[in-house]
């Protein structure tokens, strides 16, 4: 076992940055053919905009830490935690995958936690809630199952639906819609009930890996005990935790991990599910959740579902798919650290959606939906499962 810090373990990555600055602004993917104007870092755009607010500056700071030029003081710690880890800089980086900026500050956060210097208080509170109550809200675990109280869902089955904290507490309509759709498609869906714990997404990002691992081990074991062959979730963050973080921590999982959008797209394609009526709005746009899109490359399935809704025209925002702008939440990191900053970033997305001419934004992540709803003006915000259920005339 090495005593090296997490950052030292990826030292070569920290020094592989060419400081080209594409992580600050990139205006053209193919300079002379497709000109797409965008700025890369939501934090840079909503703060003082210093080098240290975007990836290349933070990577330089990582080099400074490695060289012993300075340590982690409170200001630096707050900087490193006020980041959505939206991965747009990673996506834009020419040196990717050799260089993944987000990996670097996730390593720094782990070192900060190991040294007892973090996470900052707002995130520590979330960590405590997750550790003690197994959900990000600190609500009693018995309440987690309330959305399913009248659904008579079995604990065992071939397919387990994993609701996640947000669909279990403030957004039960997402959970109920998802289950209703799956049932209507003839899928016998099971549910873990109180054995469903938070996926640990915040802890994976804030460096509290021990808590994240506890959540991961419990959830994987619960699903294994349910006998499920596959797990379905409507939450982009839960999906990313199961799809990427859990296998990295625990090895290959004994079940398949699917996002609702993937299941719905497949059911529609195979004719087992049909979306039969409009949803009220004719022009809609899709917001790619960072954790579903850039992290897991799930871009097409949600769009396929939306295109299947009668009378709906799917309009893309200026920035979409790989270069989609973040909703501002970022695994609760930014929202917890700086509420105004999170709202400002979400506001950008609303402006972009309005400029696209869409009447509604659909997303595939409860946390994104919440972020966007908070600042939405002149446009409605929906979750994909809710929209799909409505198109199937399912009453929730």
């Amino acid at each position: 076992m090495t005593n090296e810090s997490k950052l030292e373990q990826i030292k070569n990555m920290a020094y592989s940055c060419v400081q080209c600055g594409y992580c600050r602004e990139k205006y053209s993917d193919e300079v002379f053919t497709t000109l797409i104007a965008y700025r890369v870092c939501p934090i840079r755009e909503h703060t003082g905009g210093f080098e240290y607010h975007c990836a290349r500056g933070k990577i330089k700071i990582a080099q400074g830490i490695l060289e012993g030029r300075f340590g982690y003081d409170e200001e630096l710690i707050n900087l490193l935690y006020t980041d959505p880890d939206c991965k747009l800089c990673s996506w834009i980086c020419h040196a990717e995958p050799m260089l993944d900026p987000v990996t670097i500050w996730r390593a720094m956060r782990q070192d900060i936690v190991s040294a007892g210097l973090g996470p900052p208080e707002p995130l520590r509170q979330i960590d405590n809630r997750v550790s003690e109550k197994h959900n990000v809200f600190g609500a009693i675990q018995e309440r987690r199952t309330r959305w399913a109280s009248d659904l008579d869902l079995p604990r065992r089955g071939d397919t387990v639906y994993f609701a996640g904290c947000h669909a279990s507490y403030p957004k039960p309509e997402i959970a109920r819609s998802t289950v209703a759709i799956l049932k209507k498609a003839g899928i016998d869906v099971a549910y873990l009930g109180e054995d469903e714990w938070c996926c640990g997404v915040v802890q994976f990002h804030d460096g509290s890996i021990d808590i994240a691992e506890e959540m991961a081990r419990h959830n994987v074991e619960s699903i294994r005990e349910s006998g499920a062959r596959r797990m379905v979730t409507a939450c982009a963050e839960c999906y990313k935790s199961f799809k990427l973080e859990y296998p990295a921590l625990l090895g290959e999982l004994p079940f398949e991990v699917l996002h609702t959008s993937e299941v719905l797209a497949e059911l529609i394609k195979s004719g087992k599910l049909e979306l039969t009526q409009g949803i009220g709005e004719s022009k809609i746009t899709y917001h790619d959740p960072c954790q579903l899109g850039r992290y897991c490359q799930v871009y097409d399935p949600p769009r396929e579902v939306l295109r299947s809704i009668p009378g709906v025209e799917l309009i893309e925002m200026l920035r979409h798919r790989g270069n989609a702008w973040c909703c501002g939440n970022g695994a609760d990191m930014v929202r917890s650290m700086d509420r105004d900053l999170a709202s400002g970033i979400a506001g950008d997305r609303i402006v972009e959606a309005n400029e696209s001419g869409a009447e509604a934004i659909v997303t595939a992540c409860p946390r994104c939906a919440e972020s966007l709803e908070r600042v939405a003006e002149g446009i409605k915000v929906y979750d994909l499962s809710v929209v799909a259920a409505r198109s199937m005339s399912i009453e929730i």
Binding site: Q19, E30, I61
Partner: protein, 467 residues
């Protein structure tokens, strides 16, 4: 201990836009280069020319040096200023278009806007500017002008760059804090529409100046009508047929009217085993598809007549097109810091100097093939001359390789300048090499100018071997 000007600068720009934290200043200690970090004492992001002027006046009063910063994409060392004390003025907050005139075909833009944003915005209006080749997304207009880079995406020819040829006027904060306007706008009643200034060409004083005579905060640039049709292409030549490849490039570039917006040849680097091809790559633009097709036809004819030894496009030559013209997302960047060795030669001397430099590099890098590799060499056709260019990578965790890369970069430049080349992209350590090749009288004039404009020597000191 806070920087002694923290409070005063905060009063000028507000606390949001100034920082003297250790980590903050360290993030400003380098550019895209493998040279050692040089840490300023405080960093500030002013939002207006007036704020820049006030900071400069303050610096004069307190005799604290200033290091101006644009996109920080140069690859030859970051200016040292006074380590731990200097004020680093980051101009990237100043990124507005101030005036766009389709009749005079000019745009006045704040110097912190990136060349690629400007290009993007002008394209939306049906115009283009001469932006630099790479990394165009991050380089600022001010940086291009003061660092002398630019141009390989020009309209009718590779122009290296918009700074020399297409800058009509500048707004500059002088080292004493005065704000001046150059070009036709020297007359406050006149528009900024021309380089003609009823007197000396003051604009030229600041181009390639590295900011030693003042901080450029605005620039008026020439625009060109956008040519919406385009095509790219390539042909390959056997490694041994370098002369044929160069003859073909020269013939294509010599054609009037000009055929290519970009014309370059890429070959193996001196540490890569021989046997690879030379790739002649080009981009052609036109107002109609027919015009593009005619240009492509002419290029084919020239290639057939002048260099029938070409192998046509190959997978490798097309990859060069993707990497160096269309700038694909997955273009080649490697395991470490990239560096370049570049020098402009007149066309009739470029080939022999390419060969000489190739041999020089081969000798110098013997034994370092895998630790400090130069992965290709190239010639860019520019204004009836050629830019000799080598691209390399160095792993910054390998200190010896880093030292070797710096030594080779400076040594190669010194050798190229000794052969009659000119530096085309400036940065601190390369400026010092260049200054060794200035005529003594020119160095003396620079010293006199600098001392006169900047008696306290606060504005980006120690560049071009000046005090």
């Amino acid at each position: 201990m806070p920087h002694k000007l923290l409070s005063a600068i905060t009063e000028i720009v507000g606390s949001k836009y100034v920082s003297d934290s250790d980590f903050a200043t360290f993030a400003y200690s380098n550019n895209s280069s493998q040279y050692p970090s040089r840490v300023p004492g405080i960093v500030v992001r002013p939002g207006t020319t007036e704020e820049v002027s006030r900071i400069v006046k303050l610096a004069n009063q307190e005799k604290v040096s200033i290091v101006p910063r644009g996109g920080a994409c140069s690859y030859g060392g970051w200016p040292e200023g006074e380590p731990g004390k200097s004020i680093c003025i980051d101009i990237t907050r100043m990124r507005r278009i101030l005036d766009f005139n389709p009749v005079t075909k000019t745009v006045t833009v704040e110097a912190g806007m990136t060349g690629s944003e400007l290009e993007t915005r002008m394209r939306a209006e049906g115009f283009c500017v001469h932006t630099i080749f790479s990394p165009s997304d991050s380089v600022t207009v001010g940086g291009m002008i003061c660092g002398e880079s630019g141009g390989a995406a020009g309209r009718d020819f590779s122009s290296e760059g918009m700074d020399w040829l297409f800058t009509w006027g500048l707004k500059v904060v002088l080292p004493n804090g005065d704000i001046i306007q150059t070009g036709s706008g020297i007359n406050p009643q006149a528009k900024n529409h021309s380089r003609v200034s009823s007197g000396p060409d003051l604009t030229g004083l600041f181009i390639g100046s590295m900011g030693i005579f003042g901080i450029v905060t605005e620039a008026t640039l020439q625009l060109f009508h956008l040519q919406p049709h385009e095509a790219v292409g390539s042909v390959a030549f056997d490694y041994a047929l370098l002369d044929d490849a160069h003859r073909a490039m020269a013939a294509i570039d010599d054609h009037e009217p000009k055929l290519c917006a970009i014309l370059a040849m890429f070959g193996p680097g001196p540490v890569i085993p021989e046997g690879q091809d030379w790739a002649l790559i080009y981009r052609v633009t036109g107002f109609t598809q027919d015009e593009v097709d005619r240009k492509l036809g002419t290029i084919s004819r020239i290639l057939k007549e002048v260099a029938p030894s070409n192998k046509g496009p190959t997978e490798a030559s097309e990859r060069m097109v993707r990497t160096y013209i269309t700038q694909m997302h997955d273009s080649a960047h490697g395991f470490g810091m990239w560096f370049m060795i570049e020098s402009l030669f007149p066309r009739d001397e470029s080939l022999k100097n390419l060969k000489a430099s190739y041999e020089w590099l081969k000798r110098e890098l013997a034994g370092w093939e895998h630790r400090s590799p130069i992965f290709n060499s190239s010639l860019f056709a520019q204004l009836d001359g050629d830019v000799i260019s080598y691209h390399g990578m160095v792993n910054l965790t390998d200190e010896e390789a880093r030292q070797k890369a710096m030594e080779v970069q400076k040594g190669a430049l010194d050798m190229l300048l000794s052969q009659g080349g000119s530096v085309i992209v400036l940065s601190k350590d390369l400026c010092d090499v260049a200054a060794d090749h200035f005529r003594p009288e020119c160095s003396a004039m620079l010293r006199t100018l600098k001392a006169s404009l900047d008696p306290n020597n606060i504005m980006n000191p120690h560049i071009f071997k000046l005090p």
